[in-house]
């Protein structure tokens, strides 16, 4: 069996596109190779064409059959051009997924020779591809890589690239070279960023005027009014309550900032003063007390607190911080009539709540008392720590510049290059500026150099399959695992030409995975593989799902990140992604998941035994982003599983198919009934037979990932049958089915990670490498580190991508 249709999509697609991509060089080479043997077309005409004409042409000849047209093969060259489609046909015939069940079925003796011929033809194309596939492409740093690289190069961590135009993903990842476009707007940003980065490194952040930032997070009154009762063990910190205000702000400079929270709502007159907590990064920094008016006062009715505010000033470090304002002990101190949970000492465990007040706005003003001057970290990065601090004198500019350039360009630099950079220092000094100002210009110069902004792999002039240079390998490694430049140790290995040695390579990979910078792999690979990055802008129907607050959203994303991080750090089997008896929760998510015993806003590892959760498919983040705003979609979720876990993505629906009738959903009909109706259309059936069962299995999770027994008025039925005949009754059983065939998942993850690491779509020639990686991973108990190691050791990663021969 083929590893999955993905191959068809990537590799054969490339085969088909190559003529366009490379002018006509490759296709000429390809055609020449095939054309030498006229029997290809003859064989096709004798063996395959009659079969297709009999069983397939009825549908696969016009626009209605989506992208599968089988009738255009008329000679040798159109045969080559239809390689994609033919491999699709092969996959369908092997699975016996076509012709559709309702059509006359061909006999085995009819199918066998056709499959055999198509397999022979595919293998032939493989051979051809292996000889000439792959291509190198110059790749610019993406935004995450730029940010991390200037952080590691110069100790500057204000994330300048967040201001660059958004990167566009290709093949699902924003590391893919071809999709990383360049424009004048970007070049202008490079210039601006270079100046600001260099200046910050040498002189610190420019003195700034205080600026005011307004935060008004979205809130919905429903989140409060629905809360008719409150549990005795409610969150007294207020952090996980709907009333809490949570925002993330990037601070431009070290300094003092004023945080002012402005209230809205009503608290019963006679209550104790409202206690507000101000938190930075989850640590309470300040408490304030706001008395509740007891009588009409400056236009406010008794109990009304609209516009009351509290503020405090505090030093904050530059960078991104999570700010929260919460109502502490929200249900305490109410008048006796309200029977608050503790004041009334009710034994019911719940009591009437009055929580119709909350901090509505947060205004941040600053910086005041800005810290001026460069950071110690930056000075160390620029001037180095190895030699004496007096090294800043004029004798050492060459050493400083060459050391910086080596790191900025991630390789040894030539004397000429150093001369060109050092001249900037002389030039500034001639103009009457200081040494530092000259150095600043030299750094700016480096930061707009293509050697810094791009990763260019030079043709070593070697044969096909030649190894990449050791510096190129160092960069491939560090951008794969850290989304950043190689550190000193990697560069040193590269200089010594030892990096490619198996034991050195393994030691370096293990060292890199243990480094905190490997967090980049979690965020950038993990967030794109499972598409949980989409959570940032995912907006479920706010009326239907008032519980989906920004805090909930942040918590969901954090769970998935911590889970991935744990698998990476503890070197767990990658099968944990499919099913694990643990996850990471704070109180909000635990309540969301109906798991008792998790109190407070801190995340911790939680045992999931006996719950419905476990594995990424049961994580709210994944469930939410694979849903529509207002309802679940078994089709989207089925697609998510096929695409991200099984590497078997279905083609998009052909145009003009009737979409699902949503009106009766949850009222008189279940999603299942509607989709079964949909599947009666034979155009839809072949894909939906694969998609729907996987999606149905997840129907117990609603559109924001909570467990439910019913969809509206209709009970949930999560049973189904997979195309291979295995059936299941519940999500847990479906998950077990996936886990029972770990190869499909392992190959899928290997392919995704290899795509991310190489920064290109995979091709036919990479097929064997993926299989080999998956096999080795299985042999080592599916360990995460084994996956990374085998990717790094694979031929596509270590070898120069060879170019097609020019005919």
């Amino acid at each position: 069996m083929l590893p999955g249709k993905c191959w068809v999509r990537y590799s054969l697609l490339v085969a088909m596109l190559l003529p366009l991509i490379w002018g006509t060089r490759l296709v000429r080479a390809g055609q020449a190779a095939v054309a030498k043997d006229e029997s290809q077309w003859q064989g096709y005409r004798q063996t395959v064409q009659p079969f297709l004409a009999k069983h397939c042409f009825e549908c696969h000849t016009d626009k209605n059959s989506g992208d599968v047209r089988l009738d255009g093969i008329k000679d040798e060259s159109s045969l080559t051009a239809h390689a994609v489609v033919l491999e699709k046909a092969l996959a369908m015939l092997r699975k016996r997924a076509m012709p559709p069940k309702k059509r006359p079925q061909p006999a085995d003796v009819e199918i066998k020779p056709v499959v055999a011929w198509l397999e022979m033809y595919a293998a032939r194309l493989d051979q051809l591809a292996a000889r000439q596939a792959g291509r190198r492409m110059t790749r610019r740093l993406n935004r995450a890589e730029y940010n991390n690289t200037v952080r590691d190069l110069l100790g500057v961590d204000f994330r300048p690239a967040d201001d660059f135009p958004a990167d566009v993903p290709g093949h699902g990842f924003d590391t893919v070279a071809g999709a990383l476009t360049i424009s004048p707007a970007l070049a202008e940003k490079y210039l601006v960023a270079a100046e600001k980065v260099a200046h910050t490194a040498l002189f610190g952040v420019e003195p700034m005027k205080p600026e005011r930032t307004y935060h008004q997070p979205f809130f919905t009154a429903d989140a409060f009014s629905k809360n008719k009762s409150v549990k005795l063990d409610y969150d007294e910190t207020g952090m996980s309550l709907p009333s809490a205000l949570h925002v993330v702000q990037r601070f431009p400079a070290d300094g003092e900032y004023t945080l002012r929270a402005i209230m809205r709502g009503v608290r019963p007159p006679g209550s104790n003063p409202i206690e507000l907590g101000f938190w930075i990064d989850g640590v309470m920094m300040h408490q304030a007390s706001l008395p509740v008016p007891t009588k009409l006062q400056s236009g406010r009715a008794p109990g009304e607190i609209n516009g009351l505010w509290a503020e405090f000033r505090t030093p904050i470090k530059a960078g991104e911080h999570w700010l929260s304002v919460t109502v502490l002990r929200m249900y305490e101190g109410l008048p006796p009539a309200y029977q608050g949970p503790k004041p009334a000492n009710t034994t019911l465990g719940v009591s009437r709540a009055t929580d119709a007040f909350f901090p509505m706005y947060l205004n941040v003003v600053g910086p005041f008392e800005q810290v001026i001057g460069p950071s110690r970290k930056s000075l160390e990065k620029v001037f180095g720590t190895r030699s004496a601090p007096t090294s800043r004198d004029s004798a050492s500019p060459r050493r400083i510049v060459s050391e910086l350039a080596r790191r900025a360009f991630r390789r040894t630099v030539s004397a000429q290059e150093i001369d060109d950079l050092v001249k900037w220092i002389a030039r500034a000094q001639t103009d009457g500026d200081s040494f530092e100002e000259g150095l600043c210009l030299a750094i700016e110069r480096m930061l707009v150099s293509p050697h810094f902004l791009f990763r260019v792999e030079k043709d070593s002039g070697g044969d096909h399959g030649a190894s990449i240079s050791s510096f190129e390998l160092a960069s491939r490694l560090s951008y794969f695992l850290w989304s950043s430049m190689p550190d000193d140790e990697l560069l040193t290995c590269a200089e010594a030409q030892t990096l490619a040695k198996p034991d050195v390579l393994e030691a370096q990979v293990r060292r890199m995975l243990a480094d905190s910078k490997a967090q980049a792999l979690v965020e950038n690979f993990g967030g794109q593989w499972l598409q949980t990055r989409a959570l940032e802008s995912h907006t479920p129907d706010r009326i239907k799902f008032p519980e989906f607050t920004d805090y909930t959203r942040m918590s969901m994303q954090k769970e998935s990140e911590l889970f991935f991080d744990h698998i990476l750090r503890q070197d767990r089997p990658i099968l944990d992604f499919l099913d694990a008896n643990y996850t990471f929760l704070n109180q909000r998510l635990a309540e969301f998941y109906q798991i008792p015993g998790v109190e407070g806003h801190e995340f911790r590892k939680v045992d999931l035994t006996g719950t419905h959760r476990g594995g990424v498919l049961a994580q709210a983040s994944v469930l939410a982003v694979s849903s529509y705003a207002n309802r679940t979609s078994p089709v989207l979720r089925g697609k998510c599983v096929l695409e991200n876990l099984l590497n078997d993505p279905p083609p998009p629906p052909p145009p003009e198919v009737p979409a699902l009738d949503e009106k009766p959903l949850g009222q008189t009909a279940s999603m299942r009934m509607q989709l079964e109706e949909h599947r009666k259309n034979p155009n839809c059936a072949s894909c939906h037979a694969r998609l729907d069962p996987l999606g149905f299995a997840l129907e117990h999770f609603d559109a924001i990932g909570r467990w439910r027994e019913q969809d509206g008025k209709v009970p949930i039925d999560s049973s189904g049958t997979l195309p291979d005949g295995r059936s299941f009754k519940s999500f847990e059983e479906m998950r077990a089915c996936l886990k029972a065939k770990p190869d499909a998942f392992t190959e899928c993850l290997a392919e995704k990670m290899l795509t991310y690491a190489l920064g290109r779509g995979l091709e036919r020639a990479d097929r064997d490498a993926v299989k080999r990686i998956a096999r080795k991973v299985a042999q080592d108990g599916y360990r995460f580190s084994r996956l990374v190691l085998e990717i790094v050791r694979s031929q596509p990663f270590l070898m120069q991508n060879v170019r097609a021969e020019t005919p």
């Binding site: 110059t138 991104e320 705003a629």
Partner: protein
């Protein structure tokens, strides 16, 4: 425990507060226009394309009669005050948005071919379309201005995954293509637009320091170009493309710096720098259109494209009481309730656009209004979104183009006229000498 989350902050929390770009300072800018040098100024024409995603409910768009004096339709209603300033053009098509043998991906093809007239390559990474009409115009009109062209977008969320079938997200997120392989990503953050137009407002420095700084910048860029050329010559042609694009881009930045030092676009008044992306769509659109109008008036650029949303946008419009995603709704199956929602979204977009037209109309450019001096095209590469139809597209042109257009009519071209014929007609009116463009079959009669 720290919950860190990138980017949410900008999108979900920050409110733009810099809408204080008002009229008072505009007069201060008029002398900066640069045509006070000697001879009587030749009026400048501005060109702008505004693209809306996910098609149009055509029965609520197309006027029932042709010629002058047509009755306004529900979606065009916000433009009613400008009946005499608009040309509704029916029956144009975007043939290259059709599969033509490729697979699904009509959304990607629609946005990629609307301004290029090219059939985009079906690929996740090896992108290829054609040069877009705005960029052809910019090659000529842009010579005189600091920015050759400006690309704006109102959708700021990060792209994740694959955008449309096998097509790279580059196709759905850009309509402007500088070269067939170089899409120009739109700026979505008002602060970035502000900085691009007016420069980074840093601490004030004396003229001497500024001049020296400009000199340094120039030579840093020269060096970078020399580097790039050297590097490009050392590698194969396939690997070189990105470097060539970088080279083109640096050259553009350099040209901009030279232009700004020559034309002295000094802007006075209390211009406030926007702090980020407003959470409210209408406010975001207003701010972006406001800055665009300002840029046109100050002659910082003469060519602009605006993407109201990325093609196949999944934005939901809570503010209209519509929680479903736009794309989800666009497959409406002719369900009246869904069509009603779609129409509301499309009218809402048009309302934001009409405010921009108001803005242009209220601004003076010598003796005429800025609108009189402009040709503003509003349209989409899909008509019926349910079936991804790429003919009989919704297109309306606003403005008189300095007398080059005779607005106030509805013209129906049938169904087989490429939209590129319109592009060609406008390009010729802008003085671009070109006999064909994209898949054009002639010059559209307007």
């Amino acid at each position: 425990m720290i919950i860190t989350k990138k980017h949410l902050s900008r999108r979900a929390f920050l409110r733009g507060t810099g809408a204080a770009i008002g009229l008072p300072m505009l007069d201060a800018m008029v002398p900066a226009l640069g045509w006070a040098r000697g001879a009587a100024p030749k009026p400048v024409t501005r060109l702008c394309y505004v693209y809306v995603p996910n098609g149009m409910v055509m029965k609520s768009w197309t006027p029932s009669t042709t010629g002058a004096g047509f009755a306004i339709t529900p979606i065009l209603k916000p433009l009613e005050p400008y009946l005499d300033q608009m040309l509704v053009l029916s029956g144009l098509m975007c043939h290259n948005a059709n599969p033509l043998g490729d697979g699904p991906g009509d959304h990607a093809r629609a946005s990629a071919s609307f301004l290029t007239g090219a059939h985009p390559r079906e690929s996740g990474s090896d992108i290829h379309a054609g040069v877009s009409a705005d960029q052809v115009a910019a090659a000529t009109l842009g010579e005189q201005t600091r920015l050759r062209s400006l690309e704006l977008g109102f959708e700021d969320n990060r792209m994740v995954g694959l955008c449309d079938a096998k097509y790279s997200c580059a196709y759905t997120s850009s309509i402007s293509w500088r070269t067939p392989t170089m899409p120009l990503a739109p700026l979505t953050n008002p602060r970035h637009v502000f900085e691009r137009l007016f420069g980074n407002v840093g601490p004030s420095t004396d003229a001497k320091t500024t001049a020296r700084r400009a000199r340094y910048q120039q030579s840093i860029l020269d060096d970078a170009m020399a580097d790039t050329r050297r590097l490009a010559s050392a590698i194969g042609p396939d690997d070189r493309r990105k470097l060539d694009e970088y080279l083109t881009s640096i050259r553009e930045v350099e040209r901009g710096i030279q232009q700004s030092s020559r034309a002295n676009h000094h802007i006075e008044g209390n211009l406030q720098r926007p702090t980020g992306v407003p959470a409210d769509f209408a406010e975001h659109a207003k701010l972006m259109f406001e800055m665009l109008a300002l840029a046109f008036q100050a002659d910082l650029t003469r060519v602009c494209t605006v993407m109201v949303g990325r093609e196949s946008s999944i934005r939901s419009y809570d503010q209209l009481g519509i929680p479903e995603s736009h794309h989800q709704l666009s497959h409406h199956r002719n369900d009246p309730a869904t069509l009603e929602k779609l129409t509301r979204i499309q009218t809402y977009h048009m309302t934001q656009f009409a405010r921009f037209i108001d803005n242009l109309y209220s601004r003076r450019d010598a003796e005429a209004s800025l609108l009189d001096r402009s040709m503003i095209v509003y349209g989409a590469g899909i008509s019926d979104s349910n079936r991804h139809v790429h003919e009989k597209l919704p297109v309306v042109v606003l403005g008189k183009g300095n007398g080059a257009l005779k607005p106030g009519r509805h013209i129906d071209y049938g169904r087989d006229t490429p939209v590129t014929n319109l592009h060609l007609a406008l390009l010729q009116r802008l003085g671009v000498r070109q006999k064909s463009f994209g898949d054009s079959t002639g010059v559209l009669e307007l």
